[in-house]
């Protein structure tokens, strides 16, 4: 079935460095959602993108949806220790379901 590939699988950065995770699909997506899961916690919804080329910002986080609606990225500027966790992208497959990527696990050296 339809899937998305997230890269990288793991990323370790020094506090203050930037971080980017990518979500790629071979087919056009109707929308893309991003979630964050802190270690030991549950996924928390961050944002949804629906328009081609859409860019949204939440403080130090910048989310982008590609022009062809086949890829998306999440960029964190100047990481902080509170950014530690796994970031998942997800897309709507059918009327009621979400399909999640495998996630990018971010660890930060303080």
């Amino acid at each position: 079935g339809q899937q998305v590939m997230q890269i990288p699988q793991y990323q370790h950065v020094q506090e203050g460095e930037d971080f980017t995770t990518y979500c790629n699909s071979s087919t056009t997506l109707s929308n893309i959602q991003w979630y964050k899961q802190r270690p030991g916690g549950h996924p928390v919804f961050l944002i949804q993108l629906v328009k081609s080329g859409e860019v949204k910002k939440q403080k130090r986080l910048t989310f982008q949806f590609g022009e062809a609606k086949k890829n998306s990225s999440l960029h964190i500027t100047a990481t902080q220790t509170t950014d530690v966790g796994t970031y998942f992208c997800a897309f709507r497959a059918g009327a009621q379901k979400l399909v999640f990527g495998q996630g990018t696990r971010l660890t930060i050296n303080p």
Partner: protein
Amino acid sequence: SQTIHQWPATLVQPVGSPLSLECTVEGTSNPNLYWYRQAAGRGLQLLFYSVGIGQISSEVPQNLSASRPQDRQFILSSKKLLLSDSGFYLCAWSAGTYEQYFGPGTRLTVT
């Protein structure tokens, strides 16, 4: 505001024993409800979802089953647990086709 509850938080069960995990949502009506399983360090695997009372869609054939006896109650069950059933079980709800909100999860260890 809406809240989602899951219990128990952790569970250790022997192989072959039954399982019942419960999820309830407050503050909304007719939510879509979902059960996911997450293996350690892995992504989210959708197990079941429900768009209404008594309506269950199964995504992965296995020894688990789900039921929705009430509008805001979703139950995950098994008659006989396998070692491979160990994992982090997450319940989630959504209002139609929008974002999903997850419960705190149940960590199941099958020994």
